[in-house]
Amino acid sequence: MKAVVLVGNPNVGKSVLFYQLTGNYVTVSNYPGTTVEVSHGLASIEGRQVRVYDSPGIYSLWPLTEEEAITKRLLLEKRPAVVVHVVDAKNLPRMLPLTLELQACGFSVILVLNMLDEAKRLGVQIKRGELASRLGIAVVEAAFVHGWGVNALRRQIAEQLNSRLTTRPLCQAAIMPEQEQRDFMASALQRRQAAEKILEGVYSCGDLRREAWLDRLTLHPVLGLLFSIVAIYVGVYLLVGRLGAGLLVDLFDGVLFAEIIIPRLTAWIGFLPWQAVRELLAGDFGILTMGFRYAFGIIMPMVGTFFFAFAFLEDSGYLPRLAYWADGLLKKIGLNGRAIIPLVLGFGCGTMAVVATRTLESRRERIAATFLLALAIPCSAQLGLLLAMLSGAPFLLLVWCLVVLIVFIVAGSLLNILLPGKRAAFFMELPPLRTPKLGALLQKTLARMRWYFMEVVPVFVFISILLWLLAETGLLASLVAGLVPLVGMLGLPPEMALVFLYGFFRRDYGAAGLFDLYRSETLSGAQMLVAAVALTLFLPCLAQLTMIARERGVPVAAAIVFLVSMTAFAAALLLRLALALPVW
């Protein structure tokens, strides 16, 4: 099957186009570096099936980061019949050299001038016909978020597929890594000059001084800070903490599960003759009473609201601005502003965030960010539950925040000293702030929830079965007995041993267990605090761990596990001492 590869600078709309062509949803957000993996899907182009690939954004065929290298490899390996180069029309002068580079490598390129809606608004004018004839390739005008230009592009792809030109030999040498730096720089300069010449009389830049008031607000030091505080308060505290973890959890878990589903199920299951099976389905660790209840009653409402708030943040284009503000602080812990994106994503889901560390330049930064994600960034489920538990006591919430923040900073500074290598210089393009579209937000939220539950539900069922097995065989008792002294050292009651055991399988599961204890009022305020800190810092969940092993390698993953559990225990122990909490 013929391959069509979508390439272009980051944040130009490749993933939107991918969805329009194939119907497969991949994450679309308003910041550079959203896509870090290749996705592919089938599209039918004028009756012909082709395989379309969405790729991570690149600036040139000379990669600076891992995800750029992925795109280059894709282009080399798939030998695409057509390469669709998507550009942001208003920034054509900056992006056209890549078109020339692709052409020089022998690809048959179609140039897409996307975001024409924005370009028009700014008064940018591009003479498409003239541009096409100067380049000698097809040029398509588009605004994919509005669905414009997709059909025109389809026609062009079909034409390209039918023409014999597609069998041009690929000039491998032009994209081979052996190329001399100096040669590359020289040819880059040539391409830039060529691009300039091509655009003469074809592109006029319109109004450069226009700036939205919101843009000015978020870039103002004081107002910008106030703005983020208000945004965090509304998004995290009100939406996730109050609505998701409060109201919706009460509704789903407190009413739906506790009053309707579970009593009925237990009644039905009561007819089953085997005690062990009854236990498996509806006992203390039952698949239905615990696995499904935790997943759908407690976790789902929180994760859902969180993902929604998060989608809003991503689509607004605020994250790169945050990167700009945070650069100085992150430099102190050996990272740079760029790392804010994976770190903030970690508040959504640590597993996704580990993959997003690919956008960091050096291995040293990737390891540091992965470690901090595993240690001190609670995921959405955890955060929601902790907010729900601690929001009754704002003081505890504040102390929890402070402790986790201190651990984050101390761990980061230590890593900065210990890890070899230099940190990379910070540069990032700030996309315009865009008004998020409700449809896109819902689509992203649902896609992520589906993905999350595909991952979570089997694990929850598995944990239920495992715990049931352990309980039936009596192993659970001895395992818990082994943990009890450790838990006791932290000043926590024996019930917490089980919660930590859950937490080992999944962070959110552990948090849900803690939530259960909180509601039965087993823990005092100080104990809650210690438990919350320990669980936040504790091991990353199984999924995240697998991803760390995949992205960073098993030795690094093993080191991270060891160090994270040590740090978590030490921090919780210190906190207990500081609180003068007695050993249990």
């Binding site: 600036y59 900056r94 540069f427 700030l430």
Partner: protein, 77 residues
């Protein structure tokens, strides 16, 4: 007033044309290049603190001090 200065000696609101990139380091040059910050390009400085924020064409680019110091600028006016 000096006409050619490095970007990190400029203040917010100033504008000028990039005349050269000082770096001997290719990685630095490539980074600037990928942001469209190359000789001949007209830029405007939006902010200098906490980092540098410049506008080139229709894009805004954030840079740290280290990268900003590599850009030689011919001030307007």
């Amino acid at each position: 007033m000096q006409k050619i200065v490095s970007l990190d000696d400029c203040s917010a609101g100033e504008a000028g044309k990039i005349v050269a990139l000082a770096a001997g380091d290719y990685t630095v040059i490539r980074k600037l290049q990928s942001m469209g910050l190359v000789p001949g390009v007209q830029i405007r400085i939006i902010r200098c603190r906490p980092g540098f924020l410049v506008q080139a064409g229709h894009s805004k680019v954030a840079l740290d001090q280290c990268l900003a110091s590599q850009i030689m600028l011919e001030r307007d006016g």
